[in-house]
Symmetry: C2
Subunit: 299 residues, 2 copies
């Protein structure tokens, strides 16, 4: 099996839904611990309006901190999510080297969230991606709702392929397919990534799953089987809606690392360090968080 | 993909670890509901000493009840677990038509649990299986600890193959590989079942997983990919050690059925009925049970 890249999205996708804002100093501590654990990419935050998502208000400050030579990680890359031109400007100004951005394969979802159709949103994202590429930054583009949508239900494979095609034509070769609403199942995952892979074998595919129906790890395995080389995950399984009775967090980083270790992959990444961060997060939020490995008592 | 058989082991493997004994009438009600849901095989109980496992003391009575013509299920088969000759005698006396029995691939585990080495235990189980076969009963033999052991750690593939070989030589063609202690991961599952399948393509393989590290469903998917046609699972994810802080229950029936439905398999089985039983079980035991689907509010 291929070398697998771990893309920790907890500080962004995990924390953005939490009501209790994590102080910048604690975020820095957690990100430093994630860096020490040997994770490859860490999504530090997103460039949204601070009043809309107060939890992400310190994104620029976090990047500025980690851009200083004494704080800059040696191997780990730090990614930032941008939604629009203004976000890209902010990201470029504070030293982001790896930009993530995307569109929804569901037209309804796209209109509700961006006021644009999927096709219009794709034009716009490709423009932003080109600007980031011209500024010599790494770019990952994503297809959200690639496996289904809460509004539209099943999303046809052709809708996903159309967006991927447009990305490929724009020379964008780092692509993430995201199961925004928990519709994915391993067979569909294997089928979609296998089909996508056939379009261009040089593309680096990432997967982004939630644990809504307990299929997150099964989906990651199926994605790896299909040739996906990057897994997006969140420490302690943070993410989704914390108030929902149902688990809906991102696939949990320490559970993914445990699976990889079982497969004799990424044994360079410290499971213990990530478990320690997950436990700190549990203490901070004062509730049980969804991941599994961090609940297993130390032997 | 093949037609998948669902083998519900909740009434046996799920309940046997519970301190609070489920009254016979309630067991009958749950088993009837499981029958109505369209499940293929239900493991009603095990023939152990009633003082050793009081929860299983009514196994003979349950079989006697369901052997009466007015209670006998039309399509569903009822299985019983036997550990020894005495258990087989009891099972034959109360009308069991489908016998399950097995040995541990771990010599240490086998000695601790049966006082016999794996090899001696295999001799004995094959004798019992032959007697059941001669009595025209269906038999499923299993290899416990097929993926690892709490005492011995990793179990070599060759130890598992040796037992399967002996089963095949005895003409036993319904074989279950069980991950007794939660050591399995999907890659190993796929490898082991693929290797086993090569020995004799006419064997019907079953899988038995626990959710210890959140890999239960991933393991089921990998097993199906390798050609396994029967999944052992437990409603509400009952099983394992209920007092453990860590999930360790059997892979959860309603979560498996949800996965199968996503794959457009076994849409004849009613997810709603199984969810209803899982919720009743949660009310009965007065605590949150491990499965996922039964916690998702009805839309």
């Amino acid at each position: 099996m291929n070398k697998i890249t771990i893309h920790e999205v907890g500080p962004r996708d995990g924390l953005q839904v939490e009501k209790q804002t994590v102080p910048t100093d604690l975020k820095i501590k957690w990100i430093q611990q994630l860096i020490s654990s040997g994770i490859d990419i860490i999504q530090v935050g997103s460039f949204v309006h601070p009043e809309k998502v107060p939890q992400m208000a310190d994104t620029d400050r976090l990047f500025a901190h980690f851009s200083q030579s004494e704080n800059r990680p040696e191997r780990t890359r730090l990614s930032g999510l941008v939604l629009n031109e203004r976000g890209l400007d902010r990201g470029l100004a504070c030293g982001v080297e790896f930009f993530c951005m995307g569109v929804s394969a569901s037209d309804t979802y796209s209109r509700k969230n961006t006021g644009m159709s999927t096709s219009e949103a794709t034009d716009r994202i490709i423009d932003i991606a080109k600007r980031a590429t011209e500024a010599a930054k790494a770019v990952q583009v994503s297809v959200q709702n690639a496996f289904g949508c809460s509004y539209e239900g099943a999303i046809p494979e052709s809708s996903v392929m159309r967006i991927i095609d447009r990305y490929l034509n724009a020379g964008l070769k780092r692509i993430s397919l995201a199961d925004t609403a928990g519709h994915a199942h391993p067979q569909r995952v294997e089928r979609l990534f296998t089909a996508a892979m056939k379009l261009d074998l040089s593309v680096e595919y990432a997967c982004h799953f939630h644990e809504t129906y307990g299929l997150g790890l099964a989906n990651c395995y199926a994605a790896m089987e299909a040739g996906v080389t990057s897994i997006e995950c969140s420490f302690a399984g943070l993410g989704g809606s914390p108030s929902a009775k149902v688990k809906s967090g991102n696939v949990c980083t320490e559970d993914v690392v445990h699976l990889l270790h079982k497969m004799e992959l990424r044994t360079d990444v410290s499971l213990d360090s990530i478990v320690a961060i997950a436990r700190e997060a549990e203490t901070f939020f004062g509730r049980e968080l969804p991941g599994i490995l961090h609940k297993i008592p130390v032997a």
